[in-house]
């Protein structure tokens, strides 16, 4: 079989060489993909199906307060005698849902703004200036300010977190798209008479897929982290269980003797973020096998 050298000008993905078949198969064979999928599914099942299986009550049982892990209490009990494992299960629902929702909104906003900035010359200046301004403040500040002054519910929290996180994506997407727009195949597509929308859908988006996926991974990690920080400080998610509040309250007992209260929530956070990260890495590498970079390349 004649092996042709790949020219760097040839678009990796376009309608004439549909990328639909091979990436899917590569993805399904990828070890990272299955690991990430598995962990994520386990976490989702743990949080949403778990409480239905492992039924416990929220009633206090002061006689059993701060019981170490043992019979009847696989992961011990908290200061009010409630089952820790059950709390951990319920506690995952909010972080998972808010994390995905916020990350999706932030990525969508960021990608939209990045595309606009890279493709519309008039909008480029103002948009990138706005990006600079928002990126020049530590994200936690507006989140805390807005949450403590204006809103005390989940929706304002998700809104303000998304609003502080989108510029990071915009900058990366913009940098990628300004390289893509200079490529010969874009010029060729326009010469063919493709409309802007078609060029966007057929050429620009598939070639920036890698950047967008990487951005989603980072956004997910950042969303979960900032929502957790805000909650741990008391201005975030409310009374329904979540891992961040569990960490915050467990700190009040100020001793490592109650390790079962402090350690599991953080590990679960890490598992959540890492699983999504591995998933997106696998998707990126399946989409474009030539790619090398990633936090966990081996």
């Amino acid at each position: 079989m004649l092996v042709m050298a790949r020219s760097s000008q040839e678009p990796p993905h376009s309608r004439t060489r549909p990328a639909v078949g091979r990436p899917w198969r590569r993805l399904l064979r990828h070890r990272l993909f299955w690991t990430g999928c598995l962990v994520l599914l386990l976490l989702v099942a743990f949080s949403f199906v778990g409480p239905m299986v492992w039924r416990r009550t929220a009633l206090y049982n002061v006689a059993k307060m701060l019981t170490p892990p043992g019979p009847g209490y696989p992961l011990g009990a908290d200061a009010l005698g409630r089952d820790n494992l059950w709390e951990l299960m319920l506690g995952g629902q909010l972080p998972i849902v808010t994390g995905f929702a916020t990350a999706t909104v932030a990525t969508a906003l960021g990608v939209g703004a990045g595309l606009l900035a890279a493709l519309h010359h008039r909008l480029e200046g103002p948009l990138m200036r706005m990006v600079d301004v928002v990126l020049s403040i530590p994200q936690i500040i507006p989140i805390i300010i807005v949450q403590s002054l204006f809103g005390d519910n989940v929706y304002t929290l998700m809104g303000i977190v998304a609003l502080t996180l989108w510029p990071a994506t915009t900058r990366l997407v913009w940098a990628r798209v300004i390289l893509i727009r200079e490529m010969p195949y874009i010029e060729a597509a326009r010469a063919e008479g493709l409309s802007n929308g078609q060029v966007l859908a057929r050429h620009i988006l598939p070639n920036s897929f890698d950047t967008i996926t990487a951005c989603f991974a980072t956004q997910f990690g950042s969303s979960v982290l900032f929502i957790a920080i805000a909650t741990a400080l008391g201005v975030g998610l409310g009374p329904p269980w979540n891992w961040a509040t569990m960490i915050a309250t467990s700190l009040g007992y100020m001793s490592f003797n109650d390790w079962w209260l402090v350690i599991p929530p953080g590990l679960l956070f890490a598992a959540l973020i890492m699983s999504v990260y591995l998933l997106t890495e696998a998707v990126r590498m399946a989409w474009n096998p030539r790619l090398q970079s990633g936090l966990y390349t081996p």
């Binding site: 200036r129 600079d132 301004v133 990126l135 020049s136 403040i137 530590p138 994200q139 936690i140 500040i141 805390i144 300010i145 807005v146 403590s148 002054l149 204006f150 990071a168 900058r171 990690g221 950042s222 982290l225 900032f226 957790a228 920080i229 741990a232 400080l233 961040a244 960490i247 700190l251 100020m254 001793s255 490592f256 402090v262 350690i263 929530p265 953080g266 956070f269 890490a270 973020i273 890492m274 990260y277 090398q292 970079s293 990633g294 936090l295 966990y296 390349t297 081996p298």
Partner: protein
């Protein structure tokens, strides 16, 4: 060069002005008496009336903005600056150690790519990257402070013991937490830059000339790999500061974080806004420095 720096300074100033406008807008949008809000718990009707008049609620919004700015420069900013040094020190130490670890890690990994060492260190770095910073800080604090007693658990100077060694040790946990959680993010970029450098023409030429590996690394590869790192550093300041503020408040150090959360708790929104302005100032200045350093290091930025 001067033109580039001048342009960047102007941009930084513009950014600061926009930040102050947004902060002011947030302040105005909050329903209620501005005097009462700013005084928080210290509010009495007489003080509120006086502060209101001083803030000029009878004036138009632009004039109120200007008078708020005047208040800021008169005393607000300087009171917030007093807590800045600790945070800046923590930032420098944490960032420095994180950077050193990242570069070291990247160098190690590019020497032995794909090896078990590579896999294990990559995974560990990633693991620490995904840990919530406030959780890691709490764990380290509980373990090294309460259980082992190596690190002071009371803020240094709180009980009247101004011990330098104590103070130094108390820096350890925020620095360690910040460094460990940022290593993975930076080492990826360093590694990518290193690999790109190692594959470039000038390295091939140097090798053909017979330059030793060590000299090659030090003189050529590392220097060129540092350039994108400066850019990444500039971008990661906000996240770094966010994590640092929270962690520092958690272990009880008297820095911007502690002051900010204390003020929030006391509902002294005047202090909160001052601190926010100072934090914004610090971030903008740090970004500016990072940009200027990049321009110094890479002539392509100045003239490109």
């Amino acid at each position: 060069m001067t033109r580039y720096v001048g342009k960047r300074c102007l941009q930084a100033l513009l950014t600061l002005i926009i930040v102050s406008l947004v902060v002011f807008a947030l302040m105005k949008l909050y329903p209620g008496d501005p005097g009462a809000i700013l005084l928080g718990r210290h509010a009495t009707p007489a003080k509120v009336r006086r502060l209101d008049l001083m803030l000029g609620v009878q004036l138009s919004w632009p004039q109120q903005y200007l008078s708020w700015l005047r208040l800021l420069f008169a005393g607000g900013l300087s009171s917030a600056f007093s807590v800045l040094p600790t945070t800046l020190l923590l930032l420098a130490l944490g960032g420095g150690i994180g950077l050193a670890l990242a570069v070291g890690l990247a160098l190690l990994q590019s020497r032995f790519p794909g090896s078990p060492l590579d896999r294990i260190t990559s995974f560990t770095a990633l693991l620490f990257y995904t840990f919530p910073s406030f959780w890691l800080a709490a764990l380290l604090f509980l373990w090294f402070g309460f259980d082992l007693g190596w690190v002071p658990i009371v803020p240094p100077g709180y009980l009247g013991n101004r011990d330098f060694a104590d103070w130094l040790l108390s820096l350890a946990i925020p620095v360690l937490t910040v460094a460990l959680t940022t290593v993975a993010g930076w080492s990826v970029h360093v590694r990518a830059a290193l690999e790109e450098s190692l594959m470039s023409d000038y390295v091939r030429t140097a090798r053909a000339k017979g330059v030793s590996e060590r000299r090659l690394l030090r003189r050529h590869v590392l220097r060129n790999a540092m350039l994108p790192l400066l850019a990444i550093l500039g971008i990661s300041f906000p996240v770094l500061l966010s994590n640092l503020i929270v962690v520092e408040a958690e272990v009880g150090m008297q820095g911007i974080g502690g002051a900010l959360f204390g003020a929030l708790y006391m509902r002294a929104y005047g202090s909160v806004l001052n601190l926010v302005m100072v934090i914004g100032l610090v971030t903008v200045v740090l970004n500016l420095i990072a940009d200027v350093l990049s321009a110094v290091a890479d002539p392509r930025i100045r003239f490109g």
